[in-house]
């Protein structure tokens, strides 16, 4: 199993949600986040004025998926979150040993 974390632009959340549903992902955790990457928080020049923001608001999406699905899910997220401009975000995945559904105590892929 894998944990996929995606940091995306807030307005792309609806698209990413739809794409994940398409890809068969049944649940996700969404939180409000802020941070910066390579561009150090600069957004593009807007109407002649450059807005300097230290931390840019982002949305963090986390999903647990089975090993076999994970490449597809990564692709789906990247495609849905893409605008081609700076600050589109990042997606990564890490292996997960154990998952337990709290209500039933099911373990492993059953709990996804």
């Amino acid at each position: 199993m894998r944990l996929i974390t995606a940091i995306i632009k807030p307005f792309k959340l609806d698209d990413v949600k739809a794409a994940l549903e398409q890809a068969g992902v049944k649940g996700m955790t969404v939180s409000e986040a802020s941070g910066y990457g390579r561009q150090r928080g600069h957004t593009e020049v807007y109407r002649g004025a450059e807005y300097q923001v230290d931390l840019v608001p982002k949305v963090r999406v986390e999903v647990l998926v089975e090993e076999d699905d994970h490449e597809d899910v990564l692709d789906a997220i990247v495609k849905a979150a893409h605008t081609g401009k700076i600050g589109d975000g990042k997606v990564w995945s890490v292996p997960v040993d154990t998952v337990i559904r709290v209500r039933t105590g099911e373990r492993g892929p059953e709990a996804l």
């Binding site: 807030p10 307005f11 802020s34 923001v53 608001p57």
Partner: protein, 769 residues
Amino acid sequence: MSRARSYAAARKERAADIDRWLTDLFRAATAQPYGREGRGVAPGRGTPDRFDERGAATHAGGGVALVAVGSLGRGELAPGSDLDLVLLHDGRDDIARIADRIWYPIWDSGVGLDHSVRTPDEAAKVAREDLKAVLGLIQARHIAGDAELTRAVREVVLAEWRAEARHRLAELREAADKRAESSGELAFLLEPDLMDSRGGLRDVQAMQAVAAAWVASAPGPRVREAYELLLDIRHALHLVTARGTDRLVLQEQDAVAAALGLLDAEALMRRVAEAGRTIAHAVDGTWRTVDRLLHGPAPRGRRPLADGVVEHGGEVVLARGVNPRNDPVLVLRAAAAAAEAGLPLSPAAVATLAAQSPPMPVPWPAEARDALVALLGAGRAAVQVWEELDQAGVIVRLIPDWERVRHRPQRNPVHRYTVDRHLIETAAGAASFTREVSRPDLLLLAALLHDIGKGWPGDHSATGEIVARDIGARMGLPPADVEVLATVVRHHLLLPETATRRDLDDPVTIKRVADAVGSREVLELLAALAVADGHATGPAAWNSWKAGLVADLVRRVRSVLSGTPPPPAPTLSPEQAALARHGGGAVRVVGGQVTVVAPDRPGLLWRAAGVLAAHRLVVRSASAASAGSTAVIEFSVVPEYGSPPDPATLEADLRLVLAGRLDIEQRLARRTRSLRPPRVPVAPPRVTIVDDASSTATVVEVRAHDRPGLLWRIGRAFGECGLDVRAARVETLGAEAVDVFYVVDRAGRPLVDEAQRAQVRERVLAALR
């Protein structure tokens, strides 16, 4: 409404069962072959496990008793309640052993136990030090053993509670306030705590404790009924969740309603709200009685607050000889005065106003609108006053559409309050943003009405727009203002929704918002409302993340919208021009209109304003303009309270001041001293120098909370800076003044020097402090 199922019999039965069980445990525990005569004998000797009925009887009569406090003590045991037990003894050595033999079986049975072992002296001591302990002990109930011991302890504890009522009740009140602050109000929370919320079970128990101190009477039948209902709901909640929880969370509400035989969660929550309001209202009365005990009788003086409204003994009451029957605005004036003074309306005044006020004429007179805006502008203090009026049915009579949102629960996890409380909380919160907008009155009204559409099916923003337009017209707002109000209600979610869901870097997003909003004024209103709305919704609805996104959106939209310049300097009407041609020295008083015509000279405007303030006249609006060497100033004024001053004296004083023969400053200072400082915190004043508004004068905009002599203070500050006020437009919206002054320096030129402009801003701000 059908009655909810009662669990009173089940509770009684359960308490009786537990009593029997505890009595048996107690008997077994005290049935020892040693006892009084066996004192000092080390435990373990003899045959402890042999049951000796006779022995138990003798020991039970001698120096040990099992006492129930808390819900078992009151015989109100819900399925998930813990047992609160006290083992009283007169200093026996074997008490630890007896205690073990009672507590262990209880623990083993899985019932929660809150236990203590005390001698009478220890019990009295802990009662003196611990509020919770004393509250338990004054309602303690004897279960088994030495009844005389229980009686003696109760007697001592009660006697001390009465003797020390003064500071114990102060402690009780403080604890109740803290509890209410952390748990909120039963009637308005979507997931209330039945025990600890204001208006919850704990409040009734506090009333009983006050009654036990012989300070106020015990809760009446309505309160007892509400109390029983809450006990039943708590009982059902324990059954449904199989846990001793007191918080009625959303996901359990349907099941609890079903257990009680009620239609659905909404029917349940409306009943909870009703019971909560009944109890909160009664407990307020009890605390007022307690306060009288604590602080002695209220001062007898009556201090006027507004026309027909006076402060008396820490409450706001109607002035003597006022007849609410022919003054429809009195109710709102009294409410505004109470909120602004941070005082409650007296229950008698509310009852009189509710019973006798005639219907408000439709459209409302301007005075009624101003009073409503002033009430809302008082911020936090408005919430309590609003609640008092609403309980008496006054709000629904003023705004019939309010009925549809009253007590309306919201099945939405981010919301914390019922719709009506959310609206009034938003308005109270919006009061701190009155300086951010050019129309504080519309901000407050929009905040009050933004979710009014939730009373109807469909998208609440769309229905809300229609209802708000109706209400705006009913309140007598000019058509242009009604449109702004309706637009703000329609789009109250536009900024937060766009900011979190649309690409702010996309010019199309910005353009779409700009098109919907139309002007900077509306944008300001929406931005302030978004923050107030978010705060009043709940912790999940607003945070710095969202605030940052909304602020970014507002900044971008503002850059594509142009603002309306401040109103142009007023010009003279033909009639005024005719007056001016006659030259100086004329003062006309017609009703609430005061016209001053005098040779123009520095300081004329504010000196005239000072005279009006010294005569207890509040300037609602003013415009000043000059023609050649003659100035014409029009004031529209209302008396602060009482009858308006005699026009003749007013005129005489104005002439004296214009002739420089009356020290207005001294008179105003005297009046200011006699005024009571406002208790309610208000947003700090703001002074802005508006660029590009006029080529011949510098335009200074002042936004501040209105108070007597405001215009005089501002004008004098200009005078001290060596400036002359060429023209002015002064407006008071509710309790908020938005004033625009056109000023020039001694040479008649606008101010260009940045340092000088900063100094002007500083001086005016200092004068407003």
